[in-house]
Assembly symmetry: C2
Homo-oligomer: 158 residues x 2
């Protein structure tokens, strides 16, 4: 089980956008060049973030992407779900329906205790990701790596 | 991101084995028939569980699989890791190494705050799965579905 690398790209790119003035849109080519990423593939991730309302896209020669809401209102979970989709990693196929004594009227995604156990773990994972905002990451980076914000905004404005 | 269906098969099969006497080995064909699963593919999962020390395999005409240790000593996490492997779903490729101001001597899997955030969520998921043993699942099933243990052991002994 492996998360797509687009999640890492999207998290870093959204964090980088927190260090630009809110009215400044950055073209995908510049966002991609920052980490030497393939622009076409990063653009797919940016479109997914736009569909999720995390970034907004401005067309035209001075266009590009910027955050669509404040970093306090964007969680790590929002970004992960925008790229990976909302489904849980464990998708119960209701194996119990094929077993002896199965009740065809029962939804075993709800009734099965194994399914419930896997769901509880997924919820713990989501709670942890939802507790972390871009604003929190931004503040932590600024404290631990004081040069990062300046380096980032000059590279993306250049 | 989707977990292999082998995880669901392995969890149900291990739970079913808790309802058999500890000295009774069940052949893969019978374990597979219980849920109408393809025996060859279930056998691959059983071999992975055997390599992880969760089940033991007895060869020969009366052979098969049984739990290798008591249900108190087998967690849901043990079974998930046996099938999916030990790696975290988010695998940091150290994107920061490709960014401006990168320090080639730094291991960004450790230093990157995004990597740390993803790691904390993975740990929360693992803690939850590690807190749930086969013994706990067995007890919960016995309380909520009192017919299940009897149905299971008769079907697997038949």
């Amino acid at each position: 089980m492996r998360m797509s690398e687009g999640v890492e790209w999207a998290l870093h790119t959204c964090l980088n956008l927190t260090w630009l003035p809110g009215d400044q849109a950055v073209p995908t080519a510049k966002l991609a060049a920052f980490y030497a990423l393939p622009a076409a593939y990063l653009n797919k991730q940016m479109q997914a973030l736009a569909r999720a309302g995390i970034v907004s896209s401005t067309p035209g020669p001075r266009g590009g992407f910027r955050l669509a809401r404040s970093p306090e209102q964007i969680t790590v979970l929002d970004i992960v779900v925008a790229i990976e989709g909302p489904d849980e990693a464990f998708r119960c196929v209701q194996l119990l329906k094929q077993g002896p004594g199965a009740d065809p009227a029962v939804d075993y995604r709800q009734a099965c205790l194994i399914s419930q156990a896997m769901h509880r773990a997924d919820m713990a994972w989501r709670r942890e990701l939802a507790a972390q905002t871009l604003a929190g990451l931004k503040a932590d980076v600024e404290q631990q790596y004081p040069a990062a914000p300046g380096n980032t905004s000059s590279a993306l404005r250049a």
